[in-house]
């Protein structure tokens, strides 16, 4: 009896967040999504180590080549996973480059190989990569392992997907966060005070929503001073995206404030002399924080897709820095897709991330619903 009562008591005493967490655990899709997102973010954190090649490493022989073929058996013997070196030959009848595998020697795939230097987490110097290709069986060198194939300059798409995820996964997150705070602040003030202030804010929201996004992107990214470091450009792009996206959040917050501000407990707080600012942050915002978290989660996929569109229009990050949108630029016409279908691989990562965020958002919404 005591144990049961204890859990029941726990249940009644549990905070909103404990209850949400408990319900979220029951939502299988959301749990899987959370796991996938965790893997992706860890991958982004250790991208330098996991990627066999650096951001700017290229090999022109390998340009546009399909994903590397990994073999195990060499001349009837098992030697473990290995790749062949590629060679090219000009076909004189058609004058096209013909690429073939040089089967005279094999290159075993090794773990913890030395490659381009980088800094773990930005400060520990290292040149060890998780995997790579060692020496050939006859002492040759120069073979590469391009798991997802190579782009038109002969750079490893696998490495670039990993390195690009550092931007594609963080910028939308940061951007959603900034719009989150802008939305709460502006929408909250608009809903709480109402009157002329509310009307003005409503017009501004309407106006930002009405002006087509592309000129806003272009004008704002054109306003970024040229010749600054790429890190700064990412920062500006983040800010740009969030200055356009806060309006949706502001609408939600305003609606919630309108319905909550006349509740008895807010009236009680006001009569007790609690300051406006404190009422907003201590009494009103926690009342619908869970909804805001859901909106935040569902806002991130929009930013991820927005970043790919921006890159497609050449407004985003510029090569050699990379993001998933930049990688997809290479798949931006029919010929590319028809001849080099492997260039569509980054799309899988975009889609998985967007889906994971959407499912997580759905799970959070169900968990936040007190009536279920």
């Amino acid at each position: 009896m005591s144990r049961k009562l204890k859990t029941k008591e726990d249940y009644y005493l549990a905070s909103q967040w404990t209850l949400m967490g408990r319900k979220l655990k029951k939502h299988k899709l959301a749990k899987i999504s959370l796991l996938i997102l965790a893997i992706l973010y860890i991958g982004a954190l250790f991208a330098d180590f996991l990627a066999p090649y650096g951001l700017e490493e290229f090999n022109s022989l390998y340009k546009d080549t399909a994903p590397a073929k990994i073999h195990c058996m060499y001349e009837g013997k098992f030697v473990g996973p290995y790749v062949f070196k590629l060679r090219d030959e000009l076909d004189f009848s058609t004058f096209t480059r013909h690429i073939y595998e040089d089967t005279s020697e094999y290159y075993k795939i090794r773990l913890f190989t030395h490659g381009e230097e980088y800094k773990i987490l930005g400060f520990i110097k290292s040149d060890i990569h998780l995997f790579g290709v060692g020496e050939g069986s006859n002492g040759g060198a120069g073979a590469k392992i391009f798991l997802f194939g190579a782009d038109k300059l002969g750079r490893d798409i696998f490495s670039r997907v990993l390195l690009g995820s550092r931007i594609s996964l963080t910028i939308p997150f940061a951007s959603a966060f900034i719009s989150f705070f802008l939305g709460i602040a502006i929408g909250g003030l608009s809903g709480y005070f109402g009157g002329v202030f509310d009307i003005i804010i409503q017009r501004i929201i309407e106006v930002i929503g009405a002006v087509p996004q592309i000129p806003l992107w272009m004008a704002l990214s054109a306003a970024i001073p040229s010749g600054i470091s790429s890190v700064k450009i990412y920062f500006y792009i983040t800010v740009i995206l969030s200055f356009i996206n806060w309006t949706g959040m502001a609408r939600v917050v305003r609606g919630k404030f309108l319905s909550l501000k006349n509740e008895d407990y807010v009236m009680a707080a006001r009569l007790a002399g609690v300051s406006t600012w404190k009422i907003i942050w201590k009494h009103l915002v926690p009342g619908f924080m869970s909804y805001l978290i859901v909106s935040l989660t569902l806002g991130i996929p929009g930013s991820i897709l927005g970043e790919t569109s921006m890159s497609y229009l050449n407004l985003g990050i510029k090569s050699p820095a990379t993001s998933w949108g930049v990688l997809l630029q290479e798949a931006s016409n029919v010929t590319d897709v028809a001849v080099h279908p492997h260039k569509l691989i980054p799309i899988i990562f975009v889609t998985i991330t967007v889906l994971a965020y959407n499912f997580l958002g759905d799970g959070l919404r169900d968990a936040a619903d007190p009536y279920k």
């Binding site: 109402g194 009307i199 017009r203 501004i204 309407e206 106006v207 930002i208 929503g209 009405a210 002006v211 087509p212 996004q213 592309i214 000129p215 806003l216 272009m218 004008a219 704002l220 054109a222 306003a223 949706g248 609606g255 309108l258 996929p301 897709l305 790919t308 569109s309 497609y312 229009l313 997809l328 798949a331 931006s332 016409n333 029919v334 897709v337 028809a338 569509l344 799309i347 975009v350 889609t351 967007v354 889906l355 959407n358 499912f359 919404r365 009536y371």
Partner: protein, 367 residues
Amino acid sequence: MDTNTAVMENMESNNPKKTFWEAVKDFFGKDLVQYIFKRVLMFIPTIFLVSILTFFVIQLPPGDFVSSHISSMLTSGEMVSEAEAQAMREDYGLDKPFVVQYVKWVKDIIWTPTDSSYYRINHSHHNWKYSFSYGQNVWTVIAERLGITVGITAIIMVFQYAVSIPIAIYSATHQYSVGDYIFSVIGFLGAAIPNFILAIVLMYLSYKWTGDPNLGLELKSGVGPFLKSLIIPLIVIGTSGTCGIIRSVRAQMLDEIGRQYTLTARAKGVKESKIIMKYCFRAAINPTVSGLGGILSSLFSGSTVTALVLNLQLQGPQLLKALQTQDMYLAGAIVMVQAILVVVGILLSDIALAFLDPRIRYSGGSR
């Protein structure tokens, strides 16, 4: 804008159309008419703010359009002296403060001759209505594509609603069924894949399967080919929005189905189809109706990238090109036209919402 002025005229000229006006009042109810009047008044400051933002945005990129125009004239072999350049700058009022330039822009965009030869011959009459890259009045340039853009957008919107609302009702009434899952997955995937990639892959597939490389490439004349070429744009632009509508209507429907009034109706023996359509659906559709303006604007923005990939003759690519070549009059005019269309869309959706939901007319439109 037309509906706006029409409504305004109706309101002012009370005497000759008194019977009609009264009929309107009787039909919609007094509150609704008052609400519409208030909303239409709000339309004016919104357009004013849109024009300021537009003007600010087209001014943002570094360098001015006169220098870019002069450099393009120089590359095409024309001689432009420094004095002439200075004269041009003065003509456009580029040396004046922002407010003066803005007023000139608004004035020029509204009043100037539409004859295109006027702009070619009379270079000294520089004004904001002249498109550098087309050598024509901007309204002439815009008119070429405006019809088709609005038409396509309307078709896509009708398609989105026609597809997503039945699916949403089905998913809500058959929650966690196989159909619900299938539609959810398709909807999620459609929204998770960037439009341009979807367009390219569909183009490639259509070429592979039907052997027609032009399927979806451009909008052709003739009803049959036109409809055929509409398939890919419809799928690509349509799916991204469809998912959003399905999800919001489904979630709202589920909420409403769980309400007590539904239970009451069911207990009273009201037919299930009537419960769903007459009670739940009417309550569930509200947020979707109020999101109409937003959907319109995302269609304009979302169709740009798709139109670029598919080479559709829409307004979006024209705008992009105008922005890239710093053809600022054209860009400004297109942005204004699209923004006004969206604001009109928001206005109409607000009015529709007030018509659907009496609570909104009484509370003065705070939603």
